[in-house]
Structures are given as structure tokens and as C-alpha cells.
Amino acid sequence: MPMERDFNEQYISMNHFLADVEGRAFRMAQIATGNRDDALEIVQDTMMKLVQKYSHHQATEWKALFYSILNTRILDWHRRQSVRNRFRSWLNWNDGEDEAIEDVLAQHPDETNHSPDAKLQDSQFMASLNTALSALPLRQQQVFLLRIWEGMDINETAAIMHCSASSVKTHYARALEKLREKLEDHQ
């Protein structure tokens, strides 16, 4: 039955696509939120929305749509956090969550076959990178990760971020400069 075949093909393509991007999406959300559970929730919302609203779109459009949704979800999370923080500071209430922000990169077991020194260096670089990326302003962080990690060009990134190409260039240059400053000990 052609309809069923189409559905199966679409299901398989979507499954491959999501399997390919889920790890990077999770890490992006984790860097942005500093929290594993929130990152998983953001990835879940993103996948659900992509599948529900855009699975009938061409597979070539999925990547841009996926990251557009992901970035919006991350932005929403930051807005909610900002409101929560305002209330928290108003009530002068601290439940110790700030201290519990995970140093996620440091948690990763390194299973590569590097020498102990190299492993240590990699681990230190990862930890510093995580800290440096998390410290970037959200827009710079998102632009930097989309450009460097997803390999998106300036126009694609601008479309996802709903900003101009020149803003993308500026965000990227500033992010790179800050990272270079913070990671110069590891270079």
C-alpha cells in the first residue's frame, strides 16, 4: 500500500535524523541550561514539535526547523529562569540549586585510548570549554554552536536565529574572541 510505504519511509528518515542530531542537541541544551534534566526536557519538546508539526516537510528542511525550535525552547527556558531568579532574589531564597549546576563535561568518562596525560589535558580542556561556552551570552553561544558544530553557514544560522547575517557575524566573532581569551592556557 503506497500510503503505508510512504509513512514507513518517513518514519525511518525521521528516526535517522533524530538519532543523528539528538546528542548534539542535548549537549547544546545542556551547555545553555547547565542542567541535564532541563536539557532532556528541551530536547523532548523539540522532537515532539518537529514530529507533530513538520514531519510532512521535506527532510532537507528538518535540520533548520529542528534547531530553530531548539533555540526557541532554550530561550523560553532562560526567560522562565530569569523570572524565577527575580522572585528568588526578591524572597532572598536560595535552595542551593545554583551550586548544584553540573559540570557536565567533567562527568564524561573518557574511553579513548589516549595516554593519561593526554586524557587529563582533554578532560581539562573540556571542562574549561564547557565553562567558557556556558558563560557566553545566549545568542553568541547559539550562533557559535550552530556555525562551528552544525556547520551551518551565515544565512542558515541567521534564518534559524531570526536575525540578520551581520548579527550572526558579530555574535560569532565575539564568541570566538571570548573563547580564545578563556582557553588560551590550553592552546
Binding site: L18, F26, V43, V51, Q52, H108, D122, M126, N130, R180
Partner: protein, 138 residues
Amino acid sequence: MSTELTKEATKLESKIKASLDASVMDLDQDTQQALASIREKSLKNQQARTWLNFNAWRPASGFAFSALLAILFVYHPNNLDDALQRIATQQNISHEQPEQITMLELLTNAEDLETATDPDFYVWIDEVLATEGINNAV
């Protein structure tokens, strides 16, 4: 100087990308399972939604729509009136009483109507019927 900076930036970019890739490869088992489960859940949703999707029901809804159109056409009030009238006419023709037919014939024929309203006609018909009664008795 500028070339050196660009080289340095490129090297840093490559190093950052490699580290980020490694961080995905090294995700712990729980997180990998959680991501796989999220993916599966999203795709199940897609499956459920696809059956509710109009595309999936297109042939069935097309057939149902055609059937509805056919029913509306056949049972349209105008068509229904015509059909009922036809049926009523047929029934009238087949079951009409002979007296009614006679009356109708009289009313539609001017000559017969004139005869029917003439008192002499009734005198004459009484005589005829009386004569017929005598003859029958004989």
C-alpha cells in the same frame, strides 16, 4: 600577523569542534537511553497522529463524501416532491373511485355538464330506468 591570528582561530575552532564531538560520543548510558526513549516517544506520536491525519483517511473520506453527495441529490427536497407527486398520481389513477372519474368527466366536458343540469334529463332517465326494471322483471 592577521594570517597567524586566522590560523590560530582555525586551530581553536577545530579543537573546540573535536571536543564537542567527543562529549557527545562520551555521553553516559543513562542519557543515551533517555534520548533514545524520547525519540521513540516522539515517533510513536507521529504514528498515532498519522492515522488521524487527513491524508491517511483521504480515500475513505472521498468515498464518504461522494456517498453523501449522492444521498443529498437523490433526497433533495425538490426531487423528493417530484417523486412523491409521481407516486401520488400513479396511486390516484389506479385506486380512484368510478364515481369520482364520472364526476370528473362530467365537469371537464361542457356538453355533459349541460345535460346533467337539465331537469328533463332526470325525468327521462327515470323513465328509462323504470322501463329497464319492467323489462328485467319480464
